[in-house]
């Protein structure tokens, strides 16, 4: 068509609202704590401390997309950590067997919950309330209410280890060249993918964003990448947890946006009856969403126990709430059918930065909970209000 070149639309800024919120909160705490939260060590801690919440939030988003939640994840985290611990400590078995066993337990818990929810039609709230209670009780029984540890260094690497580094002296410390190399690769991939998407849109005659907006977006994203990787390079390099997170975000981002199975979750959440009559096996979708949640919970359980170097009966207490809150803060619809993986991850980091900043500022955990609650309510209120205005 002759109008091809004129098809330009402004970016939907709402899509990036969460990113702005994240950056603003981070800057506010940077001022309040006199930059204590921007030190290389603290940036590293932010990633290591929030790794398991991010992993859980990814799985939880799928549950939230169906219009439900999973209350059992905190308990499953504890069960899987204790199973791994018992196998390594009591049976003196190889850590790989422990990891596989923990993943299997998570899978089986998912199958259990998924079966009740999908095939017997028991409401997820009730089913996962049950798995939450049962899981916690099981953890206490398995561990006899004792902490099990310390674990082997090789296992702890999963939660506390770093990828190989090439350190050179730099300023008043060192600089890891591996981190810098990864940052360069990430930047190149980002720029290329942006250009490819622009070219595709042009080719098919779709609307494109104005060039300056694309440039601004790219600049902002590059800045965030370089900020993080530079800070990490000044510390111990890249945490192994970061690798796990990036891989999971990439896989689930792809599944939710580009696969038939992923879009079926959205269709189910939007209108289950219509999804059924569109040839979607909604029971199967439900089942696998909860099995998936079980497996991701076990990964989070492994990461947590590895970071602590031990399995404790209280591990993962309240994690389900952090994961659920992350999804909602990240813009997922409470009724289901809308939300993104990136949103949930950003939501998890908003929670993490709040926790971290308030701790550094010296606020007690009691006050932190009040603030987190208020942020959750505020975020969802703002989201719903803006949608209502549009309608």
């Amino acid at each position: 068509m002759e109008t091809k070149s004129k098809k330009v639309v402004n970016m939907d800024m709402k899509q990036y609202g969460m990113f702005f919120a994240l950056i603003i909160i981070y800057l506010v705490f940077a001022i309040l704590t006199k930059s204590a939260n921007t030190t290389p060590m603290n940036v590293n801690n932010l990633i290591m401390q929030n790794g398991y919440v991010v992993i859980l939030a990814i799985g939880m988003l799928l549950c939230v997309l169906t219009g439900n939640i999973d209350l059992g994840v905190g308990s499953v985290v504890a069960v899987c950590g204790s199973v791994a611990g018992i196998i390594m400590m009591d049976y003196k078995m190889n850590m790989w067997i422990a990891i596989i066993a923990a993943l299997l337990v998570g899978f089986l818990v998912g199958v259990f919950a998924g079966f009740f929810i999908a095939y017997l039609g028991i409401p997820p709230f009730v089913t996962t309330l049950a798995t939450m209670l049962m899981g916690r009780g099981l953890t206490y029984t398995l561990l006899q209410a004792q902490t099990k540890g310390p674990f082997d260094q090789a296992y702890n690497f999963i939660g506390a280890g770093f990828l190989p580094v090439i350190k050179i002296p730099f300023g008043d410390g060192t600089l890891d060249l591996v981190s810098i190399a990864v940052a360069i690769v990430a930047s190149v991939i980002l720029v290329i993918s942006e250009f490819k998407s622009y070219a595709t849109k042009k080719k098919y005659g779709f609307a494109v964003n104005p060039t300056w907006q694309i440039a601004l977006k790219l600049a902002a994203m590059l800045f965030i990448i370089w900020f993080f990787f530079y800070k990490l390079s000044r510390y111990n390099g890249l945490p192994f947890v970061l690798l796990i997170m990036v891989v999971l975000i990439a896989i689930y981002g792809f599944i939710t946006s580009k696969t038939v199975a992923g879009r079926q979750i959205y269709a189910l959440g939007g209108n289950r009856k219509a999804a059924n009559l569109s040839g979607i096996d909604t029971k199967k979708v439900f089942f696998w969403v909860y099995v998936n949640m079980g497996v991701l919970s076990s990964i989070a359980g492994i990461v947590l126990s590895a970071r602590n170097g031990s399995a404790t009966p209280k591990a993962g207490d309240g994690f389900e709430m952090d994961a659920i809150a992350s999804c909602y803060i990240g813009g997922a619809a409470v009724a289901g059918g809308a939300g993104t993986i990136v949103g949930a991850v950003v939501g998890a980091f908003i929670m993490g930065i709040l926790n971290n900043g308030m701790s550094l500022f010296g606020w007690s955990t009691d006050i932190q909970k009040i603030v987190k609650g208020a942020v959750l309510l505020g975020a969802v209120t703002a989201d719903l209000m803006s949608k209502r205005k549009k309608a």
């Binding site: 098919y204 580009k258 079926q264 959205y266 209108n271 009856k273 219509a274 569109s278 979607i280």
Partner: protein, 522 residues
């Protein structure tokens, strides 16, 4: 006092700069039934919302004069206090509460402040029900145990309990069959005798012609004209002309160049039992055939089993203990799931697009491609997003879905455009056999015409189309051949040449008599 109970003068209402109503004028005489007509999106509902205070005074321009007084309504309660009650298309009944409680919902009979007087509630509810012809109804049963028709009447009883003087009915018969609709319209005439003024919004022009005394036509937010029965030309064609702004010489486009070929869809000895009651047979020995290029209608009263038949064929989405055979293109197929059905080139467009057809928070593209996606728009489970966009754009243009872009959320489209999205969704699965259940329910005349064009297009492409409709003129106007279904059985078959509304009704009546006879012999 003027002869008008209600005058709305120069009403203009804007939504963020867009004029939904532009200098609208309407005058309603006391004690008459006044119809309001217009295509979807013409502004009828907006006008009624202005009247009832849903859009409070000050958010619109213009003047409302009711019983000689200038009205300033800030909310629904204000207008209800004056005796203006609006009954919306979606019923506002609480399904699990009793009939009596629903009649006085929000208007409770109390002995002390806040304490419900149940005796009084039931007694008065009985009185109200009697006024709408439901004197034999038990007021203690939950409202959801009654049919939609009766629920609609309970809504009217509820309005009566509020001492209504001006009753507004927004598409009251949209979900009712002919018989129920007739009953409701007769109740309206009865209310008229009791001195209640009514405003009715409806797409069913035959009903308007039957029940109303005058009709005001709105198009694109403007009043076009008001016609008075007995004074002006009051025919359906006259009203349609005013609604669409052009002469609709033929409401059903002529199908040309269609070659009716071999039988491509055949059902043999199809039996289905009720999903919750394995002893209740819903469909008995259904046999039917559809040829390529042929449009076949399933006529019958509501509850006859037409939707049940379609859904049981469509991947066993309805019923249990299903037996019988289905042949598509000469091959016997076993359609155990919806996916099997789609794979075997059968598609079904549900009668209830909002509940069974659409993901209202999803966008146009997502809704259009969801069913066809596993077959056409993906490889190894990974979606080809660009193919989807191209296909969605093609269908948007081809069947004229009026939307800003394929990324618009479906819930924000009008009923007619939503229906076109559902139709696109199933056309994208490239079916050989397409069952359309009430394809034009609740959509305006223009969109209806476009849906009929799609039916013709499908027939021209050699597809088999089955149309289920409760509107007999529609069935007669669109179909080559008609099966009349009654009480879960095929009561008769009529060709285009012999069919008429009377023939269909005769067929049903004859079948009913036969059924009664069988009952006596047992």
């Amino acid at each position: 006092m003027s002869e008008y109970i209600l005058e709305m003068n120069h009403i203009t209402k804007e939504f963020s700069g867009v004029k939904a109503l532009d200098d609208v004028n309407i005058q309603v005489r006391k004690g008459e039934i006044h119809a309001l007509c217009g295509e979807n999106g013409a502004g009828k509902s907006t006008l009624m919302n202005v009247l009832s205070g849903v859009y409070p005074h000050g958010t619109y321009e213009g003047d409302i004069v009711y019983k000689g007084e200038h009205c300033v309504f800030h909310n629904l309660r204000d207008s209800e206090a004056k005796g203006i009650v609006i009954i919306h298309q979606e019923l506002a009944l609480s399904p699990l509460l009793s009939v009596a409680e629903n009649v006085f919902l929000g208007n409770e009979r109390t002995s002390m402040k806040g304490v419900i007087d149940w005796t009084e509630t039931r007694r008065r509810a009985q009185e109200m029900l009697a006024r709408v012809g439901l004197e034999h109804e038990n007021v203690n049963v939950p409202v959801n145990t009654l049919g939609v028709g009766k629920q609609q009447l309970i809504e009217i009883a509820k309005a009566m309990a509020k001492k209504v003087e001006l009753l507004i009915l927004d598409e009251p018969t949209a979900a009712l069959n002919d018989e129920e609709s007739r009953k409701l319209l007769d109740i309206m005439l009865e209310l008229k005798r009791q001195g209640i003024t009514c405003i009715i919004i409806s797409h069913k022009l035959n009903e308007i012609e039957y029940v109303s005394d005058s009709v005001t036509i709105i198009r694109d937010g403007k009043t076009i004209e008001t016609l008075v029965k007995g004074v002006d030309d009051y025919s359906e064609d006259r009203v349609i002309k005013a609604m669409v702004g052009r002469e609709m010489t033929n409401r059903y486009p002529v199908r040309e160049g269609v070659e009716i070929g071999n039988v491509i869809f055949e059902v043999k000895n199809w039996n289905v039992f009720h999903p919750d009651d394995e002893n209740r047979q819903m469909l008995k020995n259904i046999n039917l055939q559809v040829r390529s290029g042929e449009v076949v209608g399933l006529a019958g009263l509501m509850g006859a089993g037409r939707t049940e038949l379609a859904m049981s064929l469509f991947g066993r989405s309805y019923g249990q203990k299903i037996s019988g055979q289905v042949f598509i293109n000469g091959q016997e197929v076993h359609l155990k799931t919806v996916k099997d059905a789609v794979k075997n080139k059968l598609a079904y467009i549900s009668e209830d697009r909002k509940t069974y057809g659409l993901n209202l928070i999803g966008d146009v593209k997502e809704n259009m491609t969801i069913a066809a996606r596993p077959f056409f728009f993906s490889r190894h489970g990974v979606i080809n997003a660009n193919d989807e966009i191209v296909a969605a754009e093609e269908y948007r243009k081809r069947i004229k879905v009026k939307t800003n872009s394929i990324n618009q959320v479906v819930g924000s489209l009008s009923g007619g455009n939503q229906q076109k999205v559902v139709v696109s969704k199933w056309m994208m699965t490239q079916p050989d056999v397409l069952i359309m259940d009430e394809p034009t329910r609740g959509i305006d005349v223009g969109a209806k015409y476009e849906i009929y064009c799609v039916i013709n297009e499908l027939a021209q492409a050699g597809k088999a189309v089955i149309v289920i409709s409760s509107e007999m003129p529609e069935i007669i106007g669109t179909c080559d051949r008609i099966y009349v279904i009654n009480d879960g059985e095929i009561a008769g078959e009529l060709t285009k040449e012999e069919v008429s509304q009377e023939k269909i009704m005769q067929c049903i009546m004859a079948h009913n008599r036969k059924g009664d006879g069988d009952g006596n012999e047992e």
